[in-house]
């Protein structure tokens, strides 16, 4: 009888050991959970790629009103924080501010750059000024001809949110704890995410980058950074940020590569990038989704 009792105790002890071990493992693997998502089969990955807007593949630049999506963010009233709103006005229209500003040096520079570019790029940038002028007529509150006005609005606005305080440098992003950074990202707010890789650079480099190396099973630093950037942008597009052919991001891509001129971001990914890159972008996007949601 006594022997049985001791035997039972021993079994209970072993069971307790495994129980405690299991619960510890659950906690420690919480961060690495997204890594297991890479096991998703290929067809699922492809199915997850947001559908390309085929109408947007035309090389010509459309009127601003045509580019609006179902849930536009371009009215800048999404977030009540005036610092964020003003900042996004500047960031999302950076090229129009320079195109419509009265900076002679920039005009000359642009003239020079155009001379070196491919015909398709030149055509794109010649039409881009018309696009900016139309946008300025339709939304005069953006003050696209006066960059200094927007900059002073950013400086004079009072931040009402943590992200606003980070943007106007009231709070140093590097002083945030990892949990605070994760909380910010998990708000899944495009206004935050749009510039999160710049402002939260340390977290993106020291957590997200290394995780992505594992997710992609690729250790080429530059390649992983490149995939991360594209996946982040594709995710932003899925949240409704401007990814149309005349968005700042696509204008920048067009300057870099004529094949990108006139494409929206989804079409760019699905037609210009290789199947391998697309598969990696999808894996990275799945991982980022787990960070942002």
């Amino acid at each position: 009888m006594r022997n049985k009792l001791i035997l039972l105790m021993v079994i209970a002890l072993i069971a307790t050991y495994f129980f405690v071990k299991e619960s510890n493992t659950d906690q420690s693997t919480e961060l690495s959970k997204p890594i297991t998502e890479q096991n998703t089969n290929e067809s699922d990955k492809i199915a997850n790629i947001p559908e390309a807007n085929t109408q947007a593949t035309q090389a010509s630049i459309k009127e601003p009103s045509q580019d609006k999506q179902a849930e536009p963010l371009a009215d800048y009233t999404y977030d009540p924080d005036p610092v964020i709103n003003n900042h996004l006005v500047y960031v999302n229209n950076r090229l129009c501010f320079t195109q419509l500003g009265d900076d002679n040096k920039y005009s000359l520079y642009l003239q020079q750059v155009k001379l070196r570019m491919e015909d398709k790029q030149v055509q794109y940038f010649e039409q881009y000024k018309d696009y900016c002028e139309n946008l300025n007529r339709q939304q005069p509150e953006l003050s696209l001809t006066d960059k200094n006005h927007v900059i002073s609005q950013i400086k004079n606005a009072k931040a009402t949110s943590l992200w606003g305080k980070i943007i106007n440098k009231e709070v140093d992003a590097s002083s945030l704890s990892q949990i605070e950074v994760q909380d910010l990202l998990r708000q899944n707010d495009p206004n935050i995410l749009q510039e999160a890789p710049q402002y939260l650079e340390t977290y993106y480099q020291e957590v997200i980058h290394w995780d992505l190396e594992s997710v992609l099973a690729n250790h080429d630093y530059d390649y992983v950074q490149y995939i991360q950037g594209n996946a982040h942008q594709l995710y932003l597009c899925s949240l409704g940020t401007d990814c149309q052919p005349n968005s700042t991001i696509m204008a920048t891509f067009c300057m870099r590569n004529q094949a990108a001129c006139g494409l929206d971001f989804n079409t760019y990914v699905s037609t210009i990038l290789t199947p391998g890159q697309q598969a990696d972008i999808q894996l990275a996007m799945n991982y980022l989704r787990s960070q942002y949601q």
């Binding site: 006594r2 022997n3 001791i6 035997l7 021993v10 002890l13 072993i14 050991y17 071990k21 890594i35 002679n104 000359l108 003239q111 020079q112 750059v113 001379l115 070196r116 570019m117 491919e118 480099q205 020291e206 290394w210 190396e213 594992s214 992609l216 099973a217 690729n218 250790h219 080429d220 630093y221 530059d222 390649y223 490149y226 300057m255 870099r256 590569n257 094949a259 210009i272 990038l273 290789t274 199947p275 391998g276 890159q277 598969a279 990696d280 894996l283």
Partner: protein, 414 residues
């Protein structure tokens, strides 16, 4: 009673074994990256004898090591070789020396270089490895010996030269060496071609800058006038603590005048389109000449030098016909991505042409020790191909690397 004791002892042992197995496996997981890991050769516990070499095949003249490390190899002091330094070795030494930047500091400060390596790992953001492996220590010691040899070869007798002085001396030594073999002559010719290409490219860029069509005297007159008016404006500010309305009006008038003169200068600047087109054609034509020459090249060093010029797409510039053809044949369209692929494919092609890619090569030492990139213990002891294909390059990128590699090999390295 005996059986109870027996069960208790047995259970304790069982628990201890379970605990040990569990802990050791999680420690292993922390140390290594989980996916696609390639195993590397383990280091024998016996001290290994490695020839300290100033890259390539030159023998070293080193003093016996003063710092004794468990895995340190033994190095015999040797006399400086009588044979004259060959052109390619002199070139590779000069190219390698930027890896020795921290070592010079260590030599001057009499700091143990292995301590420097350990510190580099302490600050390594990759959580998988926070200290060098014995094998990395061994290779680092070998790298230090290579640097020391170069310093002793060209530096002053008291070893007080700084990094830039030694780099300059290595460059001079290379420039004073004559190319004898075919491969050396190819490298010489390749470097000459690059120098000529840079001249053509500079001429083209100069031609894209607008030049004023006003006579030189008139340009000078306007510039002097702008300076004169600006001085008056500054004096008005400096001599009056509070500006009156009259002062303000005067400043505004002068500022408008300055602006008008500046605009006059800017408006007079035009670009000579014909000249620009000619320069562009000249550059493009020369790139095609380099492409033609590259077909004949058998020297991997010459290949590395020339391919860098031919296949690095320039942003904000028209693609050369060479790049257009490559994009069309490989399906790679993103210029930024092509730059990333170049860093992988160029060494692979060079390896296939006989460039050193084994465990002691510049490439592998760089990856193993983080001399130029991150440090990977998976790179230590292996060759470049194995490292790239079994660990470094991901499966999804593989097809792009292979497509680009095949294009290059079929075109040049057959």
């Amino acid at each position: 009673m005996k059986s109870i004791k027996y069960i208790v002892v047995l259970t304790s042992i069982l628990l201890l074994v379970l605990y040990y197995i569990d802990n050791s496996s999680s420690a292993e997981e922390k140390k290594t990256n989980p996916i696609n890991q390639v195993s590397y050769q383990s280091v024998d516990s016996k001290p290994k004898t490695v020839k300290a070499q100033s890259k390539n095949t030159k023998k070293a003249k080193l003093k016996p090591q003063e710092t004794v490390v468990e895995y340190t190899h033994t190095i015999q002091p040797e006399e400086k070789p009588d044979l004259e330094l060959d052109y390619i070795t002199a070139y590779r030494d000069w190219q390698y020396f930027p890896n020795c930047y921290t070592d010079i500091e260590d030599f001057h400060n009499e700091k143990d270089p292995l301590q420097t390596l350990a510190e580099r790992f302490e600050n390594n953001p990759r959580e998988s490895q926070n200290e060098p492996t014995p094998q990395q220590n061994m290779y680092y010691q070998q790298h230090v010996d290579i640097c020391k040899t170069m310093i002793q070869d060209v530096g002053d007798i008291n070893e007080e030269d700084d990094y830039y002085q030694i780099l300059g001396k290595l460059e001079s030594r290379f420039n004073n060496t004559s190319p004898i073999t075919d491969e050396a002559k190819q490298l010489f010719h390749a470097l000459e071609m690059v120098r000529q290409l840079k001249r053509f490219q500079r001429n083209y860029l100069d031609a894209t800058y607008p030049v004023s069509n006003l006579p030189r005297e008139q340009q000078n007159f306007i510039t002097e006038k702008i300076q004169e008016l600006s001085t008056v404006i500054i004096e008005l500010y400096e001599s009056n603590e509070v500006l009156t309305e009259q002062h303000t009006q005067q400043i505004n008038l002068l500022s408008d005048e300055v602006e008008a003169l500046r605009n006059q200068l800017l408006a007079s600047r035009t670009i000579n389109q014909e000249n620009m087109k000619q320069r562009k054609q000249q550059t493009n034509g020369y790139l095609n000449s380099i492409d033609d020459y590259l077909h004949k090249v058998t020297s991997p060093d010459a290949y590395i030098v020339l391919v860098k010029e031919l296949y690095e797409p320039e942003y904000y510039q028209k693609d050369s016909t060479v790049i257009q053809r490559m994009k069309a044949q490989t399906g790679l369209q993103d210029s930024y991505y092509i730059r990333i692929l170049n860093r992988l494919v160029t060494p692979l092609v060079a390896c296939s042409m006989g460039y050193p890619c084994d465990a002691e090569s510049d490439y592998m030492m760089s990856y193993c020790l983080g001399l130029r990139d991150s440090m990977f213990n998976q790179a230590c002891g292996g060759n470049l191909e194995d490292f790239y294909f079994n660990f470094y390059i991901g499966q999804n990128q593989l097809n792009d690397v292979i497509a680009y590699f095949n294009f290059m090999v079929n075109r040049y390295a057959q």
